[in-house]
Subunit: 190 residues, 2 copies
């Protein structure tokens, strides 16, 4: 990953996950917003044949795109793609989670009117927290454009108040760009 | 590094450097504030016998502590510890730099009245920028306590204005803690 840039948040999240969990064969990952499936595919490869990835999306189109991408790029099946809201994550996932990804906003190359929304996102995070393993982390990539920053603001307010003994909440921003680059939050078990 | 916490900024910087440069034998690192030498030792190990580390500190005590730490923990010598201000970095370093570290504030276990100061720090960063290799990055760990946040503010103002085409400037903060945890800035060549 020598040429990878930290300033590309999606790539940076992949670098962190590779570094923090890479090489293990007991991984349990969650993709809370599978979208077109690129993060899901990355997680499936990192988890390997003996790991497990559970991915969520409300949109049928996203579930189909992801299933197609995974089936054509993996020669094993370690994933379960669920067409439901990520707020119900604990209906589908019961084992401890090492890493969960959120990539918020709208589904790329699709109807931009359908977006994630803060209350559902926060509900999903709340339901994920008790599932985190001791090395567990939630990586949340947020965007300002789909709702003028409302989601970022509400997520910030929620995460600011997470118990400081139990969790570290990290906020990562690119500060020298004008065009509203994505902003990253990481919640880690302390 | 499974049990490492991102919320411990100094460890997190080590994780990033290991992941981004680990395993190479042509590395050129700079420790702009060698202090007690722990970052310098880490960089020397990462660079290996064929790499090069140049470290700076104004205080004789810091130079001595670092030399002692390195000589007792390494069976090779790939370092040069310089007793001078890091603002004169380009007097001593001419080859392209892969990673440079700043750990600001005062020297731990020493006179807390002697601290880094914003104008010298910014001068050092300015002199480092032209030396950065294509994968080059400057990692700056900052503290609020030694000057009530003046240094963080001035560095932020300086870095905010770095050319957005040439550099990505990343700011990383822990947002759910009360006791002023360190804050990280990363400047990377775009």
């Amino acid at each position: 990953m020598e040429n990878l840039k930290y300033g590309k948040i999606v790539e940076f999240v992949h670098l962190l996950i590779s570094q923090s969990y890479g090489g293990r064969n007991d991984l349990n990952f969650v993709d809370a917003t599978c979208g077109n499936g690129f993060d899901t595919l990355f997680l499936c490869k990192e988890a390997g044949p003996s790991g497990q990835v559970t991915a969520f999306d409300l949109q049928q189109q996203a579930v189909e795109r992801t299933n197609t991408l995974l089936s054509t790029n993996l020669n094993f099946k370690n994933y379960n793609i669920i067409k439901d809201s990520h707020e119900f994550i604990n209906k589908y996932v019961s084992e401890k989670v090492n890493a969960a990804l959120f990539n918020l906003g709208y589904l790329p190359f699709s109807d931009k009117k359908i977006t994630t929304n803060p209350s559902t996102t926060i509900k999903a995070i709340e339901n994920l927290l008790p599932l985190l393993d001791t090395d567990g982390r939630i990586y949340i990539t947020t965007y300002i454009s789909h709702d003028s920053g409302t989601e970022i603001k509400e997520i910030t307010n929620f995460l600011n108040n997470l118990n400081k003994s139990d969790y570290n909440v990290i906020n990562l921003r690119i500060i020298n760009k004008e065009n509203n680059p994505p902003e990253l939050f990481i919640v880690e078990k302390n």
